[in-house]
Symmetry: C2
Subunit: 335 residues, 2 copies
DNA sequence: CTGAAAGCGCTAACAA
DNA sequence: TTGTTAGCGCTTTCAG
């Protein structure tokens, strides 16, 4: 019944007899005793908290990734502090808050390009960081092969017979969005379609880097306002695609009859509205990110590692080929 | 340049001259000094963290509520610890974790009926709790008038001419779901439709209390398997309604031509798929919850308070009345 | 294997 | 207005 011994018990120290361990545990249970988190981390000089900094929690993409994060985290003794932001400026503020006062042991930074002094700020903080959905040579990261995603999009659209493809992308400041454009355009050219930037229209900026229903809606409207009449549209996210489809409906265009739509992400609702898309393994991205962070926490000197997932096509109703064409048979409309 | 003085500066104590305050702040800035969170909360005997315990973060309803939580929280010095769970059992585990070791100053408990020993456990923890989307006389709470929601649903369906309404609800264990049923059935009877429980089919239980696309899908399938042919369906959540609509599509039924669908919540995607629904002020529920918690933290002895929001009808495409009928003109399909 | 004692970095009386 | 001092509840040498 000493004090150091209790500490040993709660830290699984080897140097404590089975007998006293049990005694301590019993009494602790009876009294409802639990070691105080703050005192513990003060003494140990480390916390058991990880921070997640997330631009726009509304975005369903993050909801999926978060599930992976939470599930993996539940297996550890760490808790998750969530900081969400609506704009890039807010991300910096929230990141600052996350790094603040040594509250957390490490941070997961989502979909945020590392600007200006952020790299130094992060290194200087001493906290390990893992980048999710972005890249920087100095930090562990998880991302998707967005260029490849763009290529797959172009190939699919061409495969189902589109001859006038177009693309609606999020802000060009979003690296994933511009990588997807690059892959898309290059695959079009590869296929003999003389593609250039006029094939691409960018969502209005602002909130959430253009990844929103409303920016997709606006972009679609302005696309048709220019007089172009594409027969297929690749959109950089499912969430934007929802807005695009709403706009098409208002324009009296039938999907997939008059025009095909292909999104990106494969958020949960996509299945239920029959939206064709390029799937990112969101859940895995989340859980892998946590794993990477745990690995680095336990061995800080390991080399920086980057994991890149490949997107894959999920063809559904909105990109169904004309009857008789079976290029998209693979997935088809669910059931 | 003393130590207590620095503490005073960082705690906005009045008893420090403008001059030294500035000096301290300057030096702190230069050195990048920040008071250590754990040490501070150990000394003060209180943390600046609030825990949110959320069943199934995938559910878009929570994503919306969380936005309200985050926004309000950003105005305080508190950070948010998120614990998500997939089943009710997991909720208990996560709640336990949230109350553990005094990590947080208070907790927000979402959509969870207080079972068995939970009331005592919560009171015993010493941490204030605010219930969101559930009710218990002993704790502050925020909820929606679900019974009224059910009534509104029935009135709307009847208003657009439905004569054989049906309802697909989540698990009967979900209090919001059964309150909605109660309101729904009583309004039907009020209108002269001899309604009883045969009008209602409950989603399969399991994950997330039946609030999921797949459980909506399954329920719709089994509803029609019984041979019933309703001309309108009230579903207890938009998320389930997505599954219901998918099922109807497969059954070859046109919405709203053959049958009308009315959801609950008004999650973001509902607007984009034209789903009629009963809107809960999710954002406000989240921000109000945080406010209530802050209030209680600052004055623990205030009387328990309960806030009840009223749902309101958002009529869209899926409940459009036959041409010529203008009962649902108010909202209509979004421009 | 167990206890004693010295902090971890800060706050909060209490003096000065 | 500022400094001194005694903890907050735990971990961690260092003895025993």
């Amino acid at each position: 019944v000493s004090i150091a011994t209790v500490s040993r018990v709660f830290n699984d120290s080897a140097r404590v007899s089975e007998k006293t361990r049990k005694k301590v545990l019993d009494v602790a249970m009876e009294l409802g005793y639990q070691p105080h988190a703050s005192a513990r981390s003060l003494a140990r000089r480390r916390t058991e908290i990880v921070s997640a900094v997330i631009p726009m929690i509304t975005n369903y993409f993050f909801a999926e990734v978060l599930r992976g994060v939470q599930d993996r985290m539940a297996e550890t003794d760490f808790d998750l502090l969530v900081f969400s932001a609506r704009t890039l400026d807010e991300v910096e503020i929230q990141l600052e808050r996350a790094l603040h006062r040594g509250r957390s042991a490490g941070v997961l930074l989502f979909s945020t390009p590392l600007m200006n002094g952020m790299v130094e700020r992060l290194s200087h903080s001493g906290q390990p960081v893992v980048l999710v959905d972005s890249f920087h040579p100095s930090f562990d990261s998880i991302s998707t092969d967005n260029r490849r995603g763009g290529e797959l999009a172009a190939e699919h659209l061409i495969g189902i017979g589109c001859v006038h493809p177009a693309m609606i992308m999020a802000s060009p400041d979003s690296r994933p969005a511009s990588d997807r454009r690059e892959g898309f355009l290059s695959a079009l050219q590869e296929a003999g379609i003389p593609a250039d930037d006029s094939f691409v229209i960018s969502s209005a900026e602002g909130m959430n880097h253009g990844y929103s229903e409303s920016s997709g809606y606006d972009a679609a409207k302005s696309l048709f306002a220019t007089g172009r009449t594409p027969d297929g549209i690749f959109v950089t996210s499912d969430i934007q695609a929802l807005g695009v489809m709403e706009a098409l409906r208002e324009l009296g265009l039938d999907v997939p009859g008059d025009i095909r739509v292909l999104g990106f992400d494969d958020i949960v609702v996509s299945k239920y509205i029959g939206l064709s898309t390029l799937r990112q393994p969101m859940y895995e991205m989340g859980s892998t990110a946590v794993q990477k962070l745990m690995d680095r926490l336990s061995s800080p000197d390991r080399p920086v590692s980057h994991t890149v997932f490949s997107p894959h096509l999920v063809a559904r109703h909105t990109s169904a080929a004309p009857a008789g064409d079976d290029t998209s048979v693979a997935a088809g409309r669910p059931a």
